[in-house]
């Protein structure tokens, strides 16, 4: 049985702290700017609010990811591949849910031109934190139990997994909530009693928030270290005995294979989907969220940055597809090179076409959003270059062409 070295946990904490504390000054600053100008909540610039909303989604999830599945904790050795995959899949699922829950109210508020989006955002910060904590709870509960269990098991306390694993659930969650509490409190006070927050208080708020968050989380984790070690050992033991097998053997969605159902494609799509179960949906959800939340009047540079972001996402997905271990396996199992190349092309289309379609639909709706369409073209061109096309060669030339056009148009549009 692998043990958890104290040094490994200590190594992990400094890595997590910057991520944990970055949201505090950023979010506080975003609330600070309009307040310094004595702007009523109803007149906060859309851009400020939307950027604040964007920042609230990924950062807590990133913090959770680092806290729960860092390489420094050697979870692969400690818990085995199935446990690590389960936890990661769980975190991805809740990240997606968080993104959707954030996007929907913000979108509704903006669509109805409700100038009280601040209220939505004030609620979103703790909501995001709460959902992120729920993600960690869920992931760690799976880690301890080895399989899905009802939420009542968590509510009942101590009924989930070994008793020693309970600190794994609540201590990091307390630390995270503690770190985000000042921001949530500030947002609530600002909405309820804006006159309390004088410019002097606003100016000092980032420092106060940073200090409070740091102290709360540092104290909680310092006191919890011994319990965390015990919890990790208990979870590892549980996995090594009763739950040493993976749960999910999902089948791929039909859209991933663009409706095709050949044997080779199904095999490859199944392997891809099990490795990245939410990658396609999460990419589209992220694209929708970003595109909806960023206003048309935002500077061209913002759109260009978004386009590059889309390109990077699509590129990383298709690159991951090209490096899937399933390709050498399929060759070994007898899938011919031509069939493999065709399947890879189709899967690459399934992963990147939704992004292109989305950008194309939105491009004509927004002023300046044409860059999004070009960005999507750039994404496709860039990422498809990494696909084992084999034949026909003209597709590679086409991909280079789209790539080059995307870069040139993006630079011209941004400048």
């Amino acid at each position: 049985m692998a043990s958890v070295a104290t040094s490994k946990l200590q190594l992990n904490l400094p890595r997590a702290w910057p991520l944990l504390t970055v949201p505090l000054p950023l979010l506080t600053w975003l609330y600070l700017m309009p307040a310094l100008q004595h702007t009523p909540a109803a007149q906060i610039p859309d851009l400020t609010l939307r950027l604040a909303a964007l920042l609230t989604v990924p950062l807590p999830a990133l913090v959770l990811h680092v806290l729960t599945t860092p390489p420094q904790l050697a979870t692969r050795l400690l818990l085995g591949e199935p446990a690590q995959q389960t936890v990661r899949a769980s975190l991805r699922l809740v990240l997606l849910a968080t993104a959707l829950l954030l996007t929907v109210p913000a979108t509704l508020a903006l669509a109805a031109d409700l100038r009280h989006v601040a209220a939505v955002l004030a609620g979103v910060v703790p909501l995001t934190a709460g959902l992120a904590v729920a993600a960690m709870l869920h992931g760690l509960r799976l880690m301890a139990r080895g399989r899905h269990a009802g939420w009542a098991a968590v509510a009942g306390g101590g009924a989930f997994g070994p008793a020693e694993s309970a600190p794994l659930l609540y201590l990091p969650a307390f630390a995270l909530v503690g770190a985000l509490a000042p921001v949530a409190l500030l947002a609530a006070v600002w909405n309820a009693r804006p006159e309390w927050l004088t410019p002097t208080i606003w100016r000092g708020m980032p420092l106060i928030g940073l200090w409070l968050g740091w102290r709360l989380a540092a104290t909680a984790l310092r006191r919890a270290r011994r319990h965390l070690h015990a919890g990790l050992r208990a979870a590892a033991q549980a996995y090594a005995t009763r739950f040493a097998q993976a749960d999910g053997l999902e089948e791929p969605p039909r859209w991933l294979t663009l409706g095709a159902a050949s044997g080779a494609l199904q095999l490859l799509a199944r392997a891809w989907h099990r490795r990245w179960p939410l990658s396609g949906i999460a990419t589209v959800a992220l694209a929708v969220g970003v595109t909806v939340l960023v206003p048309a009047e935002a500077p061209p540079l913002t759109h260009f940055v978004l386009a590059v972001g889309f390109a990077w996402i699509a590129h990383s997905r298709v690159l991951a597809l090209a490096h899937e271990p399933v390709w050498p396996a399929s060759r070994w199992l007898g899938v011919t090179r031509a069939v493999r190349a065709a399947a890879q092309r189709r899967l690459a289309c399934g992963l990147s076409l939704p992004l292109v379609a989305l950008a194309a639909v939105l491009a004509w709706q927004r002023q300046g959003a044409g860059l999004l369409g070009l960005g999507a073209g750039l994404a496709v061109g860039w990422s498809w270059l990494h696909v084992d096309w084999s034949k026909p060669a003209w597709i590679q030339w086409g991909a280079w062409l789209v790539f080059g056009a995307g870069v040139v148009a993006g630079i011209v549009g941004a400048t």
């Binding site: 085995g80 591949e81 199935p82 995959q85 040493a244 097998q245 993976a246 053997l249 044997g263 080779a264 095999l267 199944r270 392997a271 099990r274 490795r275 271990p325 399933v326 050498p328 396996a329 399929s330 060759r331 070994w332 199992l333 007898g334 899938v335 011919t336 090179r337």
Partner: protein, 242 residues
């Protein structure tokens, strides 16, 4: 008898280092050939070359069955199956799904395979893990899954690189029995191995590879003279290795 594999002048380089230096080899159906040699002698490279995984250029010539492997390596590769030391199984798929893929893509007869699959899985003691993803299996168990698939692939030639590595004693004995059984059914094997006892248990021919050339070639009659005396066989191999 028509050879299932005919190679002549096999040559492979890693940069300026010559790994295979004009090797000749012919293997008949139902023959078990064991390749011996020190670490780094080129055994794995030889198996990869025979499996058409490495490019071949003149003067190398290789035929697998009736197929010219230099001209059509993909077609030639379908005449054999190669289990490397780290077989390329898909971590997310189960052993049963690998089997289904093998049936679909190598044209294996599923009806004839079902009973044999159950027997092999039981012999290798993996019948309880066939529906688990490969990533959830230990390295040794995953290796046994790859061996099971190789025996079920119904190819006339099977290449096994260090097949006993990572196997427990019971599974190693089962593997030898499976090799003998398949050999009797006409399947030819090329094994890379370090184990003298395992070689004597299954081999019809043993070759020692030193600096890219054959240093020793023992046929079935010569190997029979070493039966029951693995130490003497080891001494002969060591002498050939220099």
């Amino acid at each position: 008898m028509t050879a299932i594999l005919q190679a002549s002048g096999l040559t492979q380089h890693y940069g300026t280092q010559v790994v295979l230096n004009g090797l000749d080899l012919a293997i008949d159906p139902g023959q078990v050939v064991v390749i011996l040699g020190e670490n780094g002698a080129g055994k794995s490279t030889l198996l990869r070359t025979l499996a058409c995984e490495l490019p071949l250029t003149a003067p190398s010539a290789l035929r697998i069955g009736e197929v010219d492997a230099v001209a059509d390596p993909e077609h030639a590769a379908r005449q054999l199956i190669h289990v490397a030391q780290h077989p390329p199984l898909a971590p997310q798929l189960t052993a049963a799904e690998h089997m289904a893929a093998l049936v679909a893509f190598r044209g294996v007869d599923p009806a004839a395979t079902a009973a044999r699959q159950a027997a092999i899985a039981q012999a290798l003691r993996i019948d309880g893990v066939l529906h688990r993803p490969i990533r959830a299996l230990s390295g040794g168990t995953a290796h046994k899954v790859a061996l099971m698939l190789a025996f079920l692939a119904q190819t006339p030639l099977v290449l096994l690189d260090e097949p006993h590595a990572g196997l427990d004693v019971r599974s190693a004995l089962a593997l030898r029995a499976l090799i003998r059984e398949s050999r009797d059914a006409g399947t030819a094997f090329v094994l890379a191995s370090h184990l003298a006892e395992a070689t004597l248990a299954v081999a019809d021919r043993a070759l020692v590879l030193v600096q890219g050339r054959w240093a020793l070639d023992l046929d079935a009659a010569q190997l029979a003279a070493f039966q029951g005396d693995a130490r003497r066989f080891e001494a002969a191999v060591l002498q050939a290795m220099g």
